[in-house]
């Protein structure tokens, strides 16, 4: 028995489109119908444009009928986190500051998705300016987890995860600065990939912390993640941090790389704070790899305990600088009560930003301010060097690392929103990867007794996404977690 259209993979739907059993218009209509049905319960979207999606689908069908379709995503509806620019569409970063902003240009990833034939569907909810771990910091209201509507989908890319898990898109894009793709993927039972820093262009991505931000896909399967990655990866002269590196055929390499691999278990990632059910599911996954003939080795990343502190200095410092552009002058919210120029800056920012953004701007401004720069920012950058060296040392012994993605499964909406530090601790297993610039993915590895998804994190070596995906594919092929879908009740 096959799943309904809205729960099928890119690979399965592409085969049907290619065989003429399905048109992009029919598929897009099915996804739009599903979106309308589930959106009142999920609030995964800030907006979507039905007429625009159907026009794109008609154009895709026309290309295919004319024999011009060649793209890996031809006719496939893909959702975008509302921090990625699409010309002529709203771009809000889930902030009042940009509530009325319409993007004047496309992000590079947007152009690449269009080039691959994708149907761009919707602006997906997130924490304001991608700052948060639950999507509760959105100025437009929180998103619910399709597996339990009283719980958060995670964050900051919670809308991207909830829309896909709920069947309102076939794949989505998010952005990951400290875990914002992998943690929601884990909490919603999806594959989420944060590529190596520099593999994906950040041009047209609203900046939060530029040395950590990276765009990446959410997908139902590893194969779909490989298809999405192949569509968006590559050097872009418009992003000076974009790397010149050959882009392999990630999808084809899934089937040619078989291991066995040497896998490292970082002992620091299995300590206090790890939910016992999450820990048990990850242990079972490790046993699976051992049974496949992989060599499992305990490794140490001794500076792990300092990742959170280094991250919250570096990320907030960069955020305070990046968000200085929202001054009420050229675009964004301008206070109507401002009397002079200083007033415009101070009141527009006070009215436009929410609490978490203000907190991070304050912290970032403080750690960069005269007299504190050396003690906080410079020291954090040095600790970042040590954190990165920890990973590179581990990769002398092993090919990849296995950890939990999130220490806990999806938590209740409102449970942590009053305590910023408790919320920050959701990211303890994911932020080291951003500081070191490494690729990592989360894939489903089980459910709790109460039916909440559990995510397994695999951390790879720089620009070796093909090996990372193949390692995950081996696990996925032998398990059926990804064939279970939420009832949205």
């Amino acid at each position: 028995m096959s799943a309904p259209l809205h729960f099928q993979s890119i690979a399965a739907l592409s085969a049907k489109l290619a065989a003429g059993q399905l048109s992009s218009t029919e598929l897009t209509q099915a996804i739009l119908a599903r979106t309308k049905a589930v959106e009142p319960r999920l609030h995964a979207f800030n907006s979507y444009d039905e007429a625009d999606a159907l026009a794109q689908a008609a154009a895709s069908d026309a290309r295919r009928n004319a024999g011009q379709s060649a793209g890996a995503l031809e006719g496939i509806p893909v959702g975008l986190k509302d921090v990625i620019a699409v010309a002529g569409q709203p771009l809000t970063a889930s902030s009042k500051m940009l509530a009325n902003f319409v993007s004047p240009y496309d992000a590079t990833v947007t152009q690449k998705l269009q080039h691959a034939g994708a149907i761009l569907h919707g602006r997906l909810n997130c924490d304001e300016f991608a700052m948060g771990s639950s999507t509760e910091n959105s100025a437009f209201g929180p998103t619910s987890n399709p597996w339990d509507l009283t719980r958060t989908p995670g964050g900051s890319s919670g809308g991207s995860a909830a829309a896909l898990a709920g069947g309102a898109a076939v794949a989505t894009l998010g952005s990951d600065t400290g875990g914002s793709i992998r943690q929601p993927a884990a909490l919603c039972g999806l594959v989420g990939l944060k590529p190596t820093y520099g593999l994906i262009s950040r041009y047209g991505l609203i900046a939060y912390a530029s040395s950590l931000d990276q765009i990446g896909p959410f997908a139902r399967t590893i194969e779909d993640a490989a298809i999405m990655l192949g569509a968006i990866a590559g050097h872009d002269p418009r992003d000076s941090t974009s790397f010149k590196t050959a882009i392999p055929d990630y999808r084809a390499e899934l089937k040619t790389r078989r291991g066995p691999w040497k896998l490292g278990i970082p002992k620091e990632y299995f300590g206090a704070g790890l939910d016992p059910e999450v820990g048990a599911a990850v242990e079972k996954a490790i046993e699976f790899y051992r049974a496949q003939g992989c060599e499992i080795r305990e490794v140490s990343l001794p500076h792990t305990q300092h990742c959170l502190d280094a991250y919250y200095i570096i990320a907030t410092a960069e955020a305070s600088s990046n968000l200085a552009r929202y001054d009420g002058i050229r675009y964004g919210h301008r206070s109507s009560s401002a009397k002079n120029l200083l007033d415009v800056y101070q009141k527009s920012r006070a009215e436009g930003f929410g609490d978490e953004v203000k907190r991070r701007i304050i912290l970032g401004t403080y750690v960069l301010s005269s007299g504190y720069y050396d003690a906080y920012y410079l020291r954090a950058q040095k600790v970042r060097t040590l954190i990165r060296q920890d990973f590179l040392n581990a990769y002398r012994e092993v090919d990849a690392l296995i950890t939990p993605t999130s220490p806990i499964p999806a938590f209740k909406l409102g449970e942590k929103s009053a305590d910023p530090l408790a919320m920050y601790l959701c990211d303890i297993y994911t932020i080291g990867v951003n500081l070191a610039g490494l690729p990592a993915l989360s894939l489903p590895c089980g459910f709790t007794t109460s039916g909440l998804p559990i995510g397994l994190q695999l951390i790879g070596q720089p620009f070796r996404e093909a090996a990372l995906l193949a390692t995950a594919f081996t696990y996925e092929q032998a398990h059926a977690w990804h064939t279970q879908f939420p009832s949205l009740s």
Partner: protein, 98 residues
């Protein structure tokens, strides 16, 4: 170098630097929350960073050059589309000089 204790975060001064008009309630709330976050962050003072170079980017790319060519930019109408106030192809702001 030892880190300063979190009481050093003068919320009025930092809000002024950040150009944020905070309410008294926000100042009180953020001071309390940030002092607990800073208490955590100050554990970095324990790390020995003697002789360690800072990392600004995980994969340092230096001297990224672009050809010095004139290329089309954003058209004026597109650049002004999101301006809060505009007149005669210019952005309107409060009077700056008396």
């Amino acid at each position: 170098m030892t880190m300063s204790h979190s009481a050093a975060l003068n919320i009025d001064r930092v809000a002024e630097l950040a150009r944020l008009a905070l309410t008294p309630e926000e100042k009180a709330l953020f001071s309390t929350q940030l002092s607990s976050i800073l208490g955590h962050i100050e554990q970095l003072a324990k790390v020995d960073v003697t002789g360690i170079e800072p990392t600004a980017h995980a994969f340092p790319l230096n001297n990224v050059w672009a050809a010095d060519l004139i290329e089309p930019g954003l058209p004026l109408s597109a650049a002004l589309r999101n301006a809060p106030a505009q007149r005669d192809n210019m952005i309107v702001v409060p009077k700056v000089v008396d």
